[in-house]
């Protein structure tokens, strides 16, 4: 990938929450790129920081949390330097977000068409209502919402339709990046599968990039081009969806993939049982944060944090198994003695 294919660069991003028990780094010095027109899946278990990361990309972290470190470079500009007015314009026009529960994201006393007209006029005040309505109509039709549903209120729509309205709101200003935070999670499987199909179609048609944040690893296999796996505030592995699923490198990824149930008979009859549970981030484990649960932990893992390094072209992993350290050798010889 060359520079021109990169839409957004995240560099050393940290998000800290000030809590009574001290500061918690929900996202800890994370760096990665989002390419133009790709679907990037961000997977992890609850509390790993994936939603915090999604919000941080739009600088929407609310106190007591704040972005404590890093740069967010979008199309060559660091949006960390933007003031609130610039950010308002950036949100919606460049990046938009879809959340898990569309009912809480939509205004219950506003019709579908009013939502979209409002979004357009907020960012393009000169647009006439008729023009905005026309744009809304064309867009919603593409998403499979017929014209007669445009005057419906959110409670009159089904869950899947509400979520498609949210997608429409994200697209209407031609955003380049849509962040979908567990957008399909509250939907039934058939509706979820349909929305996943639509997200793919949208990417193909509009060329937008999608960051799909989810705990559903199978969905990522179905949908994403690349996958980032998060654990305890870090991205532990990043690579193409084929690379991650065919040849996972990080022990956490390996364990996670083997504990995902599959409906296929005669495949994966036994699920892998990973011991322990994700750590509490007020006191993250020393060294590699996964070491207390890792079947391949070495002495160095308990003392030193591995780097997030390129293991293969376009393949990153944060694990001592794949990198050297002067102490790694000495320690392992000590152990063997």
């Amino acid at each position: 990938m060359n520079e021109n294919d990169i839409l957004m660069q995240i560099k050393e991003l940290s998000v800290t929450y000030e809590t009574r028990l001290g500061p918690v780094s929900a996202v800890d010095r994370i760096s990665f790129d989002i390419y133009k027109g790709e679907i990037l899946g961000l997977v992890g278990e609850s509390g790993c920081g994936k939603s915090t990361m999604g919000k941080a990309l739009m600088r929407m972290i609310q106190p007591p949390g704040y972005i404590s470190n890093g740069q967010l470079i979008f199309e060559g500009e660091d949006i960390m330097t933007y003031d609130e007015k610039q950010m308002r314009d950036f949100r919606g026009r460049k990046v938009s977000m879809i959340f898990q529960d569309p009912m809480t994201s939509l205004n219950p006393v506003q019709r579908v068409d009013q939502h979209i007209v409002e979004a357009i006029q907020m960012h393009e005040p000169k647009t006439k209502v008729e023009q905005a309505l026309e744009r809304a109509k064309i867009l919603l039709q593409k998403l499979g919402i017929m014209e007669n549903r445009m005057t419906s209120y959110p409670h009159q729509l089904s869950g899947g339709m509400r979520q498609r309205v949210m997608v429409g709101l994200g697209l209407v200003l031609n955003a380049n990046l849509i962040i979908a935070d567990e957008a399909t999670t509250s939907l039934d499987v058939i509706v979820e599968a349909k929305l996943a199909d639509q997200l793919k179609e949208i990417r193909d048609e509009f060329g937008v990039s999608l960051l799909v944040i989810t705990h559903n690893i199978a969905l990522v296999a179905e949908l994403a081009d690349r996958v980032a796996v998060m654990y305890a505030g870090h991205i532990v592995e990043l690579g193409s969806v084929e690379a991650i699923f065919d040849n996972p490198m990080h022990p956490y990824t390996i364990g996670l993939l083997h504990s995902v149930p599959t409906i296929k008979l005669n495949e994966r009859e036994e699920l892998y049982k990973m011991g322990g549970e994700p750590p509490n981030l007020t006191h993250p484990p020393s060294g590699c944060r996964f070491h207390p649960r890792c079947p391949k932990a070495m002495p160095i893992c308990t003392t030193h944090e591995p780097d997030f390094l390129m293991a293969e072209p376009d393949r990153f992993v944060k694990c001592w198994l794949y990198q050297d350290h002067p102490e790694k050798e000495s320690q392992s010889t000590e152990v063997s003695k």
């Binding site: 039934d188 199978a218 049982k273």
Partner: protein, 339 residues
Amino acid sequence: MSATKENKSSEYLVEVKDMKKWFPVQKNFIDQVFARELEYVHAVDGVSFKIRKGEVLGLAGESGSGKTTIGRVTIGLEPKTSGDVYFDGIDLSTLSREELRKLRRRMQVIFQDPLASLNPRMSLGESIMQGLKIHYPETAPQHRDIAIETMEKVGLSPARFYFNKYPHQISGGQRQRVVIARALITKPDLVLADEPIAMADVSVRALLLDLMVQLKEEYNLTYLFITHDLATAKYICDNIAVLYLGKIAEIGNLRDVYSAPLHPYTQALMAAVPVPNPHDRRTTPMPEGEIPNPIHPPSGCRFHPRCPFAKPDCSKVEPELREIMPNHFVACHYAEDFK
């Protein structure tokens, strides 16, 4: 076959015949003034199934399919509108409140959200001992030991350490273990597990699922396992019933149903489950629409408005549940075509 109170040695632990559960829709003022007829949500609309002792029956379906209501009516948490429910040959509707209460120790429940099902002000040990206190007050001195033994069995080890903890002090996976221990302490025959692992993280899910399978052997349990996730069902259920809008669309041995789903709805549902393999992506399109309103369910076959294979008579004649293959029942007029 007439199962009465006397007919106790049935090979089936649970027999449900034509169960219906309708919920009246609250009337508004104007409807009351004009004395309009009550409308009903047809949550469960004629469901029959049997569970053999030691078997796991999965009830699968989307939200609004009636799976939770079936579970609640089966163990008598909710009165039925019509039909028969037998537990170990006993007709639940013939029992007095007191008799039903006594029978309850033989059927326990595990709900989805462990935090909501545990009293935040009760220590874990107290919560777990509640069942013993209610059903076996005479053995009070041994309750603590029984509780500790059960806690060790479900992996809350060391049990003495967890005994005096409170729900907020432990993780979600451990809380669900507490709920499982509480369910098992009265040595039940039937456990109704309503989405027991839906809230847990993937890495914890596999452990809980494995625990449930293991405990089933150890305690000779029979599970009624309610889930929206067909992939999870594969790891625990012997038989599976696929529900659509208060009716069974397909029921049979899980392996038979999964290897050859004969109802178009089961086919769609199975195709929709994402597969954790990027080389095996789904290419088939999904049916249109969502599960319809259960107040006025569609005529004929309830799935016909969304069915890609619907023919004219599907909207007129309601299909019966027919045995298409041995022990594999399907409610579709054209099920033979999908063999």
